[in-house]
């Protein structure tokens, strides 16, 4: 909403500096997005008196003028001296006062005024025409001539009265009243605690035939249109608007078109009621009458709107039709080309109606067509005011278009608006606001907002009847808000609620979720965020089966095709981040994300949203340093992080099982593991398959894991039992076993442990060695450090040797292992 400060000033007494009003508006809830000074572009253009005018010595049409601008131009001693200006306009010889653009002025057309020489004569400015000043079309006739008594040196914008400030205000959707100058003035009056007076024009004379003898109106469906007022004016003389009207309409943001259209726009800006003028002559004459029928559009119906576009209509949209047949306007949004006012129009049918907010809003949105009218109807127009507004417009047609006003109006208003009184408890206001706002203030501010207020006895509720222009005021709480914002939220003394009988804090699960993140960071991984959207086909590209991952949740209106559904795995997003890093010259990537995945279920409107945690590794921890070397990431970095997680969560039965390549086709066979706790599968860990990586544009190795965080957390424990710290020294013995490649570490260790008995305290693998000659083909040598210990005595070497001998024997038997010397 563009608010002309000058116009507003005719309705309510305003502070001299618009900035002071802006502060008050912001304080009370009207956002001012911009403050525009109209006429500001005429800076350095002033009234000047032509003191002499001589023909240019070197030109047959130019003149050299001396133009007095008062003390705006002075000599070295500070005495005023006229400016010498070379002027090409023929009428300068008659000029007494002129509009002078001085050096430094920048005219609306972009012309910058500089000191120059014209055919050898110095010129220090320009005498301007109306067109050059951007305030009219006059140019051919020469420069603009001002009366001899024009005040020399006065800025031209002030002299011509075009200086204004326009406040560009953002009006919240609950305040349709503020989309009008009268409503805005009422708000400002309440904010500033000043009276508001709006002068409205009256119709001077009504003539016959009456509007009702010329027009019939029918509303098919009152849900589309709750009131339709039609008035006719005749003998209209289409022409340019008077200057004041053109200026107001311009300030409000419209381009002046002709007097009839400008009047409808002006009245809309004034009252907030959009109006439409039909050329009566273009509607079908039905026995001397025109017929207006408001109805729903028909499927497939079309209308060419005033912007020249042909619009396809749907039954949700309302149209104004000529007798129920041809649409002549798109109700509440824009008129039709076929009934447009043009230079030959003499009779006007004026529409002042109230269309449904919902239908207007959808029509405007569906057609991508927003207008000053649709913005207002969307937020609800005051049906109670339609007739009065039609009268105001008729009076202006009479005054500005030479029109004869036909008597009366046709007014179809099936269900007049009623406003219920609201009971306001001043004690409730004070209680909710936590501020000691006096009852008198409540009464006064609501009255200033246009409410009819009946104060009760002291301590008793107030009866409030809001004006029909305020559809947002229907409940006590709505009035509380009005009182609070006008009182000033800033004056409410802050306090902190006591929270009696309430305890807060994170739940155990929430603490553990955070622990997972902290542990992964301690393990060197960096947290990242990726989109919860996925590209359709992400799982296929990754070669990930949708086994257990439900159905894809499809977005019906995606922004881009690569965000068409919700993710079912975090890994594709992380792989995109790996690719991003590598593409940007960052080869070392270690990322994790904790987030949700979305598993659609056929029998659920909303999908399951389990929390997952996933990580990717590519490259190495960092580039080598002067005394630090890093290995390329391997399967065991990912596995180590998972082990660390389990340790942090005190999960005891974590296991890794070789993954079946058929079930885990996105992983590189041989470097792929299922992660289990006990018998429950909670995720996987492994090298991502090179073919999958290629499909994500990655030409590097990537190790990853993905765990179901909810399942992981279900196994977490708060405490782990204390174990005694050994007090007696252990005996360490090395053992190198040569076993077949088919024997995995888990099996070997388990056999060694069971063979070692109670005295075997610890088994640590410290080397794995392969050599076709020395170890043999298809075999590996695994070297273990075994620690023997008894909790209650020191072991003798004989005891250890004996135990060791038995151990070797058993292990050889059960594993087919041989012991390397």
């Amino acid at each position: 909403m563009r608010v002309s400060y000058e116009w507003l000033g005719t309705m309510v007494d305003l502070p001299a500096d618009p900035a002071d009003l802006v502060k008050e508006l912001i304080r009370t809830g009207t956002e001012v997005e911009a403050v525009e000074r109209v006429g500001a572009d005429l800076e350095n253009v002033v009234v000047g008196r032509v003191v002499s005018c001589e023909p240019h010595p070197d030109s047959d049409h130019m003149h050299v003028t001396q133009v007095d601008v008062g003390d705006l131009n002075t000599d070295a001693e500070g005495n005023p001296v006229p400016l010498q200006i070379v002027c090409g306009a023929p009428n300068v010889v008659d000029a007494e006062c002129v509009a002078v653009a001085m050096i430094g002025a920048e005219l609306p057309g972009g012309v910058k005024i500089k000191k120059s020489k014209l055919r050898g004569v110095e010129s220090c400015g320009m005498n301007c025409s109306q067109r050059e000043l951007g305030i009219g079309s006059e140019h051919e006739g020469g420069i603009m001539l001002l009366p001899a008594d024009a005040p020399v040196g006065m800025p031209i914008a002030d002299y011509l009265g075009i200086a204004d400030t326009v406040l560009d205000c953002e009006i919240t959707p609950n305040r349709p009243d503020c989309l009008s100058m009268t409503g805005f003035a009422t708000e400002v009056g309440a904010v500033l605690e000043k009276p508001v007076a709006v002068e409205l024009p009256d119709i001077q004379r009504e003539v016959r035939p009456a509007s009702k003898d010329l027009v019939t109106v029918a509303i098919d469906d009152p849900e589309l249109c709750s009131r339709y007022v039609a008035r006719v004016v005749k003998d209209v003389k289409i022409g340019p608007s008077p200057e004041w009207l053109a200026q107001r309409v311009t300030a409000a943001g419209s381009r002046p078109i002709n007097n009839v259209v400008d009047v409808t726009n002006y009245v809309m800006y004034l009252t907030g009621q959009p109006l439409h003028a039909f050329d009566l002559g273009k509607l079908k004459d039905r026995d001397g009458k025109r017929s207006i029928v408001v109805r729903a559009a028909r499927e497939g119906e079309e209308i060419e709107t005033l912007d020249g576009q042909v619009r396809q209509l749907t039954p949700d949209m309302a149209v104004i039709t000529d007798g129920g047949e041809t649409p002549v306007a798109l109700a509440g949004v824009m008129g039709g080309m076929n009934s447009e006012i043009d230079d030959t129009t003499t009779e006007v049918l004026l529409e002042s109606a109230c269309f449904s907010p919902g239908h207007t809003s959808r029509t405007s949105r569906d057609l991508g067509l927003m207008s000053e009218a649709s913005i207002r109807f969307e937020r609800q127009v005051d049906a109670a005011g339609c007739a009065e507004v039609a009268d105001i417009a008729a009076a202006l047609f009479e005054a500005c278009c030479g029109a004869e006003v036909c008597k009366g109006a046709v007014d179809v208003y099936p269900e007049p608006v009623t406003v219920e009184p609201i009971t306001l408890r001043p004690s409730r206001v004070r209680q909710l606001c936590g501020a000691d706002i006096p009852t008198d203030f409540m009464v006064a501010c609501l009255a200033r907002l246009g409410c009819a207020v009946v104060p009760g006895k002291p301590g008793m509720p107030i009866e409030v009847v809001p004006p029909t222009t305020r559809p947002d005021l229907t409940r006590e709480i709505d009035l509380v808000e009005e009182v609070l914002r006008l009182w000033g939220m800033g004056y409410v003394e802050p306090s902190i609620p006591a929270a009696r009988n309430h305890t807060g804090g994170l739940t155990e699960e929430q603490r553990r979720e955070k622990l997972i993140g902290a542990t992964l960071r301690e393990s060197g991984l960096n947290e990242t965020l990726t989109y919860n959207f996925a590209t359709s086909g992400d799982l296929e590209r990754l070669r990930m089966t949708d086994d257990g991952r439900g159905d894809a949740v499809a977005i019906l209106n995606p922004l881009t095709s690569d965000q068409g559904e919700m993710r079912r795995s975090i890994v594709p997003g992380l792989l995109r981040s790996v690719a991003y890093n590598i593409d940007h010259g960052v080869p070392d990537v270690a990322l994790y994300e904790q987030g949700r995945v979305f598993f659609g279920r056929a029998d659920q409107a909303q999908p399951d949203e389990p929390h997952y945690v996933a990580a990717v590794y590519s490259g190495q921890w960092r580039q080598d340093g002067w005394d630090q070397r890093f290995e390329p990431f391997s399967f065991f970095d990912a596995k180590g992080a998972v082990e660390q997680l389990a340790a942090a969560l005190k999960i005891e039965r974590l296991r890794f099982k070789t993954a079946n390549p058929e079930k885990y086709p996105w992983l590189q066979p041989g470097r792929a593991a299922e992660v289990l706790v006990g018998k429950e599968r909670i995720g996987w860990c492994g090298n991502v398959h090179p073919l999958a990586l290629a499909d994500f544009g990655i030409d590097a190795e990537v190790v990853a894991f993905e765990l179901d965080q909810d399942k992981l957390l279900a196994h977490a424990q708060e405490f782990r039992a204390y174990e005694d710290i050994p007090t007696l020294p252990g005996v360490e013995v090395d053992l190198a076993l040569v076993v077949g490649e088919d024997k995995d570490y888990e099996t070997v260790v388990q056999r060694v442990k069971s063979a070692g008995g109670k005295l075997l305290d610890d088994v640590r693998l410290f080397d794995v060695y392969r050599d076709p000659v020395r170890v043999g083909p298809g075999k590996k040598s695994m070297a273990f450090a075994l620690t023997f210990r008894s909790p209650d005595r020191s072991l003798t070497s004989e005891e250890v040797d004996k135990t060791m001998g038995k151990l070797v024997q058993k292990v050889q038997r059960s594993l087919g292992a041989e012991v390397r010397g």
Partner: protein, 352 residues
């Protein structure tokens, strides 16, 4: 030569030898040569048996003196040599302390998580709980129960992502009342349905809106919702709580401003500005020359919302607020482009 003279000679040789010993090994060789089992002094002392009983105590005494003296010289020379040796070692061990240190590899928390954690900590310290809700929501929880009018533009597909509803009897339907939540506010309703007042909760999480990603917008971002429902909650309580949060996040010296605004689910509603940290309210480029920066929306819970939740608005009142984590991040670090929060760029992540 008598024993005494011999002892004297040993003493002198030992003294010279000790003085000449430049290393601990050389010193040890001297020690062995003099006082070792086969040393000169030891040999001399062994020969004392050949002396007369008169001579013996004299020579014995002298021999002991020499021995002690030699041992003392060795000890003191050893100290000297050890000190020199240590000094040499220390000198050889010196490093260029300006060389880079050996830093452990530790990961970083994402900037947005840090902000969420920070805000969570502020409220948890005030006794709040942390609640959660689904990202794929129903229109009822995201809009209707929050008092959004049926025709509210925010419900349009231009402002809300809708998702296919598998239970829709018409498969392939393009109309759905299942959506990606556009705000964390639906958690308010879910919490009010599940719990009785007093409620003091916050709910951080992702929200989604169809805004094309650019420097200032992301189609997925992070909000922290807050809700308090209790007896006698006032607008003053809202202010006190949010003033506290604002100062904790932005600094004790920052002022707040409450501007009345409109939200369907709160009334009275307002937006909160914090004074600009760059110009301290004077007005600068950063705050668009207003001196203030908008940080959140809030208000008193609308009685209609209580109605949907089955809470009596005459007994209870409450306030709610929502703050954007990305906005806080952008303000605090003057980020030139929000999209860098989503790329996983290691150079970005490691900065925070």
């Amino acid at each position: 030569m008598g024993m005494i003279e011999e002892l004297e000679a040993v003493r002198e040789r030992a003294q010279a030898g000790i003085g000449e010993a430049g290393t601990l090994d050389a010193l040890d060789a001297v020690r062995v040569a003099v006082t070792g089992k086969k040393g000169e002094l030891t040999a001399l002392m062994r020969g004392m048996g050949r002396l007369s009983p008169e001579e013996r105590p004299l020579v014995g005494k002298r021999a002991n003196e020499v021995r002690q003296q030699v041992e003392a010289w060795i000890a003191s020379r050893r100290e000297e040599l050890e000190a020199a040796e240590l000094a040499r070692r220390i000198e050889a061990d010196a490093v260029d302390v300006t060389l880079p240190g050996r830093r452990p590899v530790v990961g970083h928390e994402h900037l947005i998580s840090q902000i969420v954690d920070e805000i969570t900590d502020i409220f948890v310290a005030m006794g709040y709980t942390v609640a959660d809700g689904p990202y794929v929501e129903t229109e009822y929880y995201n809009f209707t129960s929050l008092n959004a009018p049926a025709d509210h533009p925010s419900r349009s597909p231009r402002d809300t992502f809708y998702v296919a509803d598998p239970t829709d009897p018409q498969p392939g339907s393009l109309v759905s009342d299942v959506l990606l939540r556009t705000q964390t506010s639906p958690v308010q309703m879910r919490v009010m349905e599940a719990e009785k007042p007093p409620i003091y909760m916050i709910s951080p999480g992702r929200v989604f809106r169809p805004d094309t990603a650019d420097a200032n917008h992301l189609p997925q971002f992070t909000q922290i919702e807050g809700l308090v429902v209790d007896e006698g909650i006032t607008f003053a309580d809202l202010k006190g709580t949010l003033d506290h949060m604002t100062r904790e996040i932005f600094g004790k010296d920052r002022a707040t401003r409450y501007r009345p605004h409109f939200f369907p689910f709160t009334e009275p509603s307002c937006e909160v500005d914090v004074s600009c940290g760059v110009c301290h309210g004077e007005g600068c480029r950063f705050c668009n020359h207003t001196g203030w920066i908008e940080i959140l929306g809030c208000g008193m819970v609308d009685p209609n919302v209580f109605g949907y939740a089955g809470i009596d608005p005459e007994t209870y009142s409450g306030f709610a607020f929502g703050i954007g984590a990305e906005r806080v991040a952008a303000l605090r670090y003057d980020l030139p482009d929000l999209r860098m929060l989503m790329t996983g760029d290691m150079r970005f992540l490691r900065q925070f």
